[in-house]
């Protein structure tokens, strides 16, 4: 009986260490920014457009990720073919690739010197536009959603889907009325992770979309720019981004429970 508590306290210590490691930089950020520089920083001309752009592009990216990623995640959760393993590996590839590599890859795909430009012609000048920002975010963040959503769908019992069918639901209706709501908490967590990843996206955006205030300069890029002009400013922007991210992550975890409560 002695062992159990000591094993338990070691576990607590390890967990505590990790939490401290994760939270410490944020606390340092908070301490290093005084309230005066906070209000000055938030009224800087770089901040407003970058915040609006970040919210708008990540919202669009999230919609695209959920709309395109949900059917894929469902297929991944149900299929047992060998092709599934391959698709799964391909989908997760962007997680292990440095974002800068993805940015270069996107330029090679859609850029003026792109691999496909002789075939499809100039693709309407996608690079260095807001569309490019959204594409970069989708590519970088979608794997987090697809992976999480597929795991959430795997928890949905297939005999439960059979029951829905026997009660008159077509496969599509059964998916919408049973699989999605039953997996909703998991889907929301996956979506919030993807959203957070899109919000923090920097490397692929810088290379593929550029860094133009009001057009392609998202909050992380504004932080990068501010770091070159005024370190204090960068600290304030970072704090705003961290606060925003924390708030929305929390919201997306509380929301599914509220929705359930209403039903």
């Amino acid at each position: 009986m002695r062992r159990k508590p000591s094993g338990h306290s070691i576990g607590t210590l390890l967990a505590f260490t990790l939490v401290v490691l994760l939270v410490l930089p944020l606390v340092a950020l908070l301490l290093s920014a005084g309230t005066a520089s906070l209000s000055a920083g938030l009224s800087d001309p770089l901040f407003g457009p970058a915040l609006a752009l970040s919210l708008r592009t990540t919202a669009l990216a999230l919609v695209a990720i959920v709309v395109l990623g949900t059917p894929l995640a469902w297929w991944l959760s149900r299929s047992s073919t060998r092709g599934r393993m391959l698709v799964e590996a391909l989908v997760e590839l962007p997680i292990v690739m440095p974002p800068a590599v993805l940015g270069v890859a996107l330029l090679q795909a859609f850029g003026r010197d792109g691999v496909f430009s002789p075939v499809v012609g100039d693709l309407g000048g996608i690079p260095f536009t807001e569309t490019a920002v959204v594409i970069a975010q989708v590519v970088v963040a979608a794997p987090f959603y697809v992976q999480g959503a597929a795991n959430a769908f795997r928890e949905v019992d297939s005999s439960m889907m059979g029951v829905a069918r026997s009660l008159g639901s077509s496969p599509a209706r059964a998916f919408l009325r049973v699989a999605v709501p039953a997996a909703l908490p998991g889907l929301c967590v996956a979506a919030s992770l993807a959203w957070a990843r899109a919000l923090g996206e920097f490397g692929a955006t810088l290379l593929f979309a550029g860094n133009l205030s009001g057009e392609t300069q998202t909050l992380p890029l504004a932080i990068y720019t501010a770091l070159q002009a005024d370190v204090k400013l960068a600290v304030v922007f970072s704090l705003a981004l961290a606060g925003l991210g924390g708030f929305l992550l929390l919201l997306l975890r509380v929301l599914p429970r509220k929705v359930r409560g209403i039903q």
Binding site: A52, L53, R112, D113, G125, P127, G210, N211, S213
Partner: protein
């Protein structure tokens, strides 16, 4: 109710972003080296005061990143870099006009308070153990190497051995010294204007390097508005702004 107000806020964001505050005219897009940040922001203000119906958009990064973006099809009107090499290569590919030199800068060796305790002159850099330079791809890094080799091989190799990081632009180099991560760095004299807690040390005459800044019209430029910007840059007003931020006139 909460849902509706959230929707309204979202709608506002979208509309706010799509509406052009300056009545639909295409903005003049200027890509500029990081070290030009404050000077060009001043120029932007002067330009928009003179042409109240026009809008200037600035993007700052290391010169090599800007060049890469232009090569990959970024729509841009003007491109200003801290050396002429990147502009020459863009011109050779037909992507930009021949570069026009518009300002001269000087290299500066800077130290923060910690570094200041150990240093009297350039040779004392060898008393330090955390120095930051620009990477070999960016002008500030190339000029720094050039300056060090002018000062002598011993100092050059000694300094290179004490470098803890090669940064991507002059401003990222400066930020490292300001944050105390490095004790000393080589940046531009213009970067000292508006910096916090760092000081330049005297550089002997024989190892001075004076970078020449160039600007080109991009192939994608809408020439009239862009040429107006170029004209302003080279006018007395422009020179005054450049001087105010630590730059010098092209001889």
């Amino acid at each position: 109710m909460r849902v509706r107000s959230a929707g309204a806020l979202l709608g506002l964001l979208f509309v706010g972003a799509c509406g052009n505050p300056r009545g639909g005219a295409q903005p003049v897009v200027v890509f500029a080296a990081a070290s030009l940040m404050e000077a060009f922001s001043g120029l932007e203000q002067a330009y928009e005061e003179r042409f109240s119906d026009r809008d200037v958009r600035l993007s700052f990064a290391g010169s090599h990143v800007l060049r890469m973006q232009v090569e990959q099809g970024a729509r841009v009107d003007l491109l200003a870099t801290a050396d002429l090499r990147h502009l020459d290569s863009l011109q050779a590919r037909g992507l930009a006009s021949p570069p026009v030199p518009f300002a001269v800068n000087r290299l500066a060796v800077v130290v923060n308070e910690e570094g200041l305790e150990h240093i009297q002159n350039l040779e004392d850099l060898l008393n330090l153990d955390r120095i930051v330079l620009g990477s070999a791809e960016v002008p500030v890094g190339q000029y720094a190497r050039q300056m060090l080799s002018l000062c002598g091989d011993e100092l050059a190799s000694g300094v290179m051995g004490r470098v803890v990081s090669f940064e991507d632009s002059a401003r990222l180099v400066r930020a490292k010294v300001e944050l105390g991560e490095a004790q000393a760095a080589v940046i531009y004299q213009s970067d000292l204007v508006g910096s916090r807690g760092i000081r330049g040390i005297r550089i002997p005459e024989h190892c001075r390097v004076s970078p020449v800044y160039g600007i080109s019209l991009a192939q994608t430029a809408r020439t009239e508005a862009a040429e107006d910007f170029l004209e302003l840059l080279r006018s007395d007003v422009g020179l005054e702004i450049l001087r105010g931020h630590g730059f010098e006139e092209v001889p």
